[in-house]
């Protein structure tokens, strides 16, 4: 698809996108006693058995791995909600549904580390995958309807999705902007000979017809 994730092209690597998602807060139920943790990133705790508490996802995963807590899956990660979201996403001409900015990464981490804490795990996972696919398809279609040459609003688009379309969107918008500028032609001529085209060595692909 447009903007395939080539690590040299996309700005943030998948690992970095996941790193950012790991700071999102999730609710866990600890099964041990632990004094408060005074991290550089903030204070968390204290931890008391059976008392739910909000912690960053990375901490939750670390505790879960050692069998020290169970996850409380976030409300949006339920079969009911996801079914609804999927149906709404499938409506023709619909907008993007509201999901957490890092929904793909959060879901992925929970599926990898907390499968026993998610009711109907397999159903939930396939729903998330379907939603992701529908949204990517929609995003690709939406790229054809870009309007305006200065600002394009992207409603409810998630972290991974932004990262994926960024290289394509940037080149397309740059091209639109260049052609829209009144003095574009003259400016371009002087510029191409004078300036070594900024240090950008990405291949320039022509807009593909789809």
């Amino acid at each position: 698809m447009a903007g395939q994730t080539d690590p040299h092209v996309s700005l943030f690597s998948p690992e970095e996108v996941e790193f950012m998602a790991e700071d999102e807060l999730v609710e866990i139920v600890p099964n041990m006693n632990m004094e408060p943790l005074n991290f550089i990133a903030g204070d968390f705790g204290r931890f008391i058995p059976q008392i739910p508490i909000q912690v960053p996802l990375w901490l939750a995963v670390a505790l879960k791995r050692r069998g020290k807590c169970t996850f409380r899956p976030p409300g949006w990660l339920s079969v009911d909600n996801l079914t609804q979201v999927l149906e709404a996403e499938r409506e023709p001409q619909s907008k993007f549904q509201a999901l957490p900015f890092s929904y793909v990464e959060i879901a992925r981490l929970l599926f990898d580390h907390a499968r026993d804490d998610i009711p109907d795990m397999y159903m939930v996972r396939s729903l998330v995958e379907d939603i992701r696919d529908v949204r990517l398809h929609k995003l690709e279609n939406n790229l054809g309807t870009f309007l305006g040459t200065s600002a394009v609003k992207m409603e409810n688009v998630s972290a991974m999705e932004v990262n994926l379309v960024r290289p394509f969107a940037r080149r397309a918008l740059e091209a639109f902007y260049k052609h829209d500028k009144p003095e574009a032609a003259a400016d371009r001529n002087t510029r191409s000979s004078r300036q070594p085209r900024e240090a950008n060595d990405e291949p320039r692909r022509p807009l593909r017809q789809r």
């Binding site: 700005l11 550089i40 957490p100 932004v162």
Partner: protein, 219 residues
Amino acid sequence: MASSSDMGSADFESLSSTSDVELLKRAWRNEKAAPEILPYEGDLVERAKGQIELVEENIEAYVENGIDPLVVSLYQMDLDRTQFLLRSYLRVRLLKIEKFMFHSLKSEEAESRLSEQEKVFARRCADDLAKHFEESVLRKLPENYQSVLKQSLISEVDDMVPEPHLDTFVACRSNSHFTLNLYEEGESTQTEEMYRGDLYFIRYKIVKGAIESGKMDLI
């Protein structure tokens, strides 16, 4: 977080969570996504360094005092994450300095964005590269074409200096509600209302000010 219904809690969150890690993450993301070098976050880097050293000492003390290895490993993870952010932030800047070193040294405004160590690095880099070009190529060219910065003697400006491409488009998210002028002065007066959490692809020049003042974040 994206829906309008939990806007209130998000607002509250932004008030309470301006920890240095959050600020560092923001600086790192902006630096990675911006086409040019942003002003150096000197105070923030110093504070982060101080906190990292403190935690390193604490962890050593914990190990000596026989604190639960689980707790120690959790502190270590927190430390690793902060260190990653700091290192990555500094490295992204070094990459950009290598890319635009002649440009960064050309004007005072550009140079003021660098830290003292970065200035030293940029100067050494530029000197070495200039020396290399001169020895390997430029000396063998006709006299008019021997400058590192100019194509030939008749060029009025330094036209061989790579500059950041500020007309590029960036993805950004608004932190507050404000009105943004979508064009540069003299072009048009079209404006756009930005609400907290709104996401845009926008020309970098237009949001440059909003990013430096913290109204918007690059993502």
